[in-house]
Amino acid sequence: MSSEKDNVDPHSGVETTGHSWDGIQELNNPLPRWWLYVWYITIVISIVYMVLMPAIPALPGMGTNTTGLRNQSDRDNVAIEMGKLDAARQVKAEDLLKASLQDIEQDRDLQQFSLAMGESLFESNCATCHGTGGRGAKGYPVLADDIWLWDGTLSGIETTLHHGIRHTSDELTRNSAMPRFGRDKLLSSAEIDDLVQYVLNFSGRSDSQAAVQRGQSLFASQCAVCHGDGGKGNRTIGAPNLTDEDWLYGGEEADIYTTIFNARNSHMPAWTDRLDDASIKALAVYVHSLGGGE
């Protein structure tokens, strides 16, 4: 640093930092006093904060982070709030448990409560697969239409929710299994082609009457046990109706071929472990209201 006199800007009389860029010098002005005070205040606040609140994370060998004098814990606070919410809900939940599903749906008050509760439960638990409002997706049934693989009544929906579908650890789960005709070499590729034509013929979409003729006996021997002679399905065992316009896994020729070749046996978890009985009742009422409840 050169002598102090050289470091004084002649225009303002203010000392400079001594650095020069293309002849431009930086004035060494002091910080604004208010700015400095605000900074001091924030330092004081941060110290007070560190003493009162959990502030320093656990370092190696320290065990746990500092808890602070106020013992503040967001986790505990959330638990307390959730507890309050549960307690408030408990009153209504008891009413739900006492009433039959039909009564819940007829009772204006309980119905509104169940629809509100069911909607939030549905959005957080079911919508991942079934879509918001039960709009469904390929392989995940639409819950807003009137097509039900198993049972679309209030109690049917409740049973499905309780035990799931093909849920391995629930003995009462809804269960059915379609054989893997192609993969397990039960049928040849040509035979499956004939079956596809026969199935397409239910909705008048077959392009080979000869194949349909050949497929008829195959269907009678292999498929009719579950899907019925006319392909109308059987809801007691969850066998889909093959004659309507609704296809869970797609209704095109290739889709049907894949279905027969590999079989499709999707799963839905049993919700008894995750949701209490009142929640399942509310969910059943909500799903029933989506559009296709029977």
């Binding site: 002649p10 119905q111 239409d145 209201s289």
Partner: protein, 484 residues
């Protein structure tokens, strides 16, 4: 105001100039008490507006069982707004928009007629500042005494006067904040709960905020709010014109001004004796003789002060008066003074707009039905194809029953002859119409599914709800999606 000028002519090498003071300190204003008709009007307006503010929440209004009995209440819990016989539901929030538009237009109209009278008399900042200055005067005396006290060293006399003033200010501020809270809950309940600690936390919180702002704005900020914070002086210029009445110094009569001895005559000089009374009473600290200024709130206290002086020197009053720019200019030129024009394009426009919107709102209020239906269409899924190929859309109907009696209503659909509907929770089956109960004084929700045969191409349907007893009805046209 002090204007800062930076000297840029400084030569290099010369000794540096002193740092300019970039932030001028506020000049304390000590408004003197004025006497006269405008001061009287201001006292009256203050009394009325403050009384309205503090008393209104206590007025009771019997609305029947289960409904708040407070005449003016913004009830957030039940989402309703009560104003004497008027009751506004959330579905009618447009009345509030209308009210705001009316308020704005009224302000425009008054400004185009009388300049900033709102600022001078009715603005809350003016009213509370005036009240605070009154308290200040009670403790510290009038202008000269206050100035003396401020410059005197600390003494017991100074201490108790200052402390007393601030205590009374705080009490008023607290009372103001407390009264505000009463507009949002049942006033007696909140007032009682306040002292027993049962009032909601938000009540304490908002009363605290209002206490602080009242004390701060009316006590210490005063005219700085009008000059620096309020947007109105900036907008006002666009609303007023040379025909608007403004507090005006009639320089054509006043100049040349100067002090006058009793012995001297009035020939060859103006009426202004330069007594400075108009400056001393001014609450914003300006000299009106410098012409129309941004700071002026048109409170006319300078008129009172000047008139008093004119009477004393036996000249006609009205050297400072509510006058128009055109009149002053005409007198200065010696041409006949034009009559004040009440009817101008802008005043007519504002008046017509006010009349139009006002009558629309009154019509709306008078023909307000006690029954309203809102329809929310399901958006996920937008439509559902049923097994038979028919198209189903889901809707949520919100039936608003504003009467205090439970009613039975019929829901039907129009615009799709073959459509049928189903209401969740009612006896099963599809039909063209359903009869539903609607609870008293509230909103009932119904979930409705509408099925239209695939053969029918429908884009819209109309829901209608009809009160079975009175025949009152409301309808709502909504989209029907079929994926086509």
């Amino acid at each position: 105001m002090t204007r800062i000028t930076l000297d840029t002519s400084h030569k290099p090498g010369a000794s540096p100039p002193p740092h300019p003071d970039l932030y001028a300190k506020r000049r304390q204003i000590y408004p003197k008490l004025a006497h006269g008709k405008f001061r009287t009007v201001k006292w009256a307006v203050m009394a009325v507006t403050l009384a309205v503010y503090y008393i209104v929440p206590w007025i009771r209004w019997n609305r029947g069982p289960g409904i708040p009995n407070q005449a003016v209440l913004a009830d957030f819990e039940s989402e309703k707004l009560y104003f004497f016989f008027i009751e506004i539901w959330p579905q009618e929030a447009y009345y509030l928009a209308g009210l705001l538009i009316l308020a704005a237009l009224s302000l425009f109209l008054v400004t185009s007629l009388l300049g900033r009278v709102w600022c001078g008399y009715a603005c809350p900042q003016t009213v509370w500042t005036d009240l605070y200055v009154w308290v200040e005067r009670a403790f510290e005396g009038d202008r000269a005494a206050r100035m003396r006290l401020d410059h005197a060293p600390m003494s017991f006399n100074k201490l108790w006067r200052k402390a007393g003033k601030h205590i009374v200010w705080l009490v008023i501020a607290f009372w103001t904040g407390g009264a505000f809270v009463l507009y949002w809950h049942d006033a007696p309940t909140v007032a009682k709960g306040w002292f027993t600690g049962e009032a909601p936390l938000s009540a304490y919180w908002f009363a605290g905020i209002l206490t602080f702002t009242t004390y701060f704005l009316a006590g210490t900020m005063r005219e700085q709010v009008c000059t620096y914070m309020c947007p109105w002086p900036r907008i006002q210029a666009a609303l007023t014109d040379e025909h608007a009445l403004n507090v005006t110094y009639r320089y054509d009569r006043g100049e040349p001004r100067g002090p006058k001895r009793k012995s001297e005559g009035w020939e060859g000089r103006g009426d202004c004796v330069d007594c400075n009374q108009c400056v001393q009473v001014c609450p914003v600290g300006i000299d009106i003789r410098n012409g129309s200024q941004l700071e002026c709130i048109h409170c006319a206290l300078c008129i009172d002060a000047c008139d008093e002086m004119m009477l004393r020197v036996e000249r006609p009053t009205g050297l400072i008066a509510y006058d128009t720019d055109v009149a002053v200019a005409a007198r200065a030129k010696g041409v006949p003074v034009p009559k004040y024009r009440l009817i101008r394009s802008r005043t007519v426009l504002y008046a017509v707009l006010i009349a139009l919107i006002g009558s629309l709102m009154i019509f709306g209020l008078l023909t307000k039905s006690t029954l309203e239906m809102n329809v929310i269409k399901d958006r996920s899924p937008p439509f559902v194809r049923l097994s038979g190929g028919d198209i189903q859309n889901g809707y949520t109907l919100k039936l608003v029953n504003k009467s205090t009696e439970a009613r039975r209503m019929t829901i039907s659909i129009e615009g799709a002859p073959d459509a049928e509907m189903k209401i969740i929770g009612l006896e099963s089956g599809s039909r063209k119409q359903f009869e539903v109960p609607v609870a008293a004084y509230g909103v009932d929700r119904y979930r409705v599914l509408v099925v239209v045969p695939k053969t029918e191409d429908i884009q819209q349907i109309t829901f209608r709800v009809t009160d079975n007893a009175t025949g009152e009805s409301d309808s709502n046209r909504v989209a029907f999606r079929s994926g086509n």
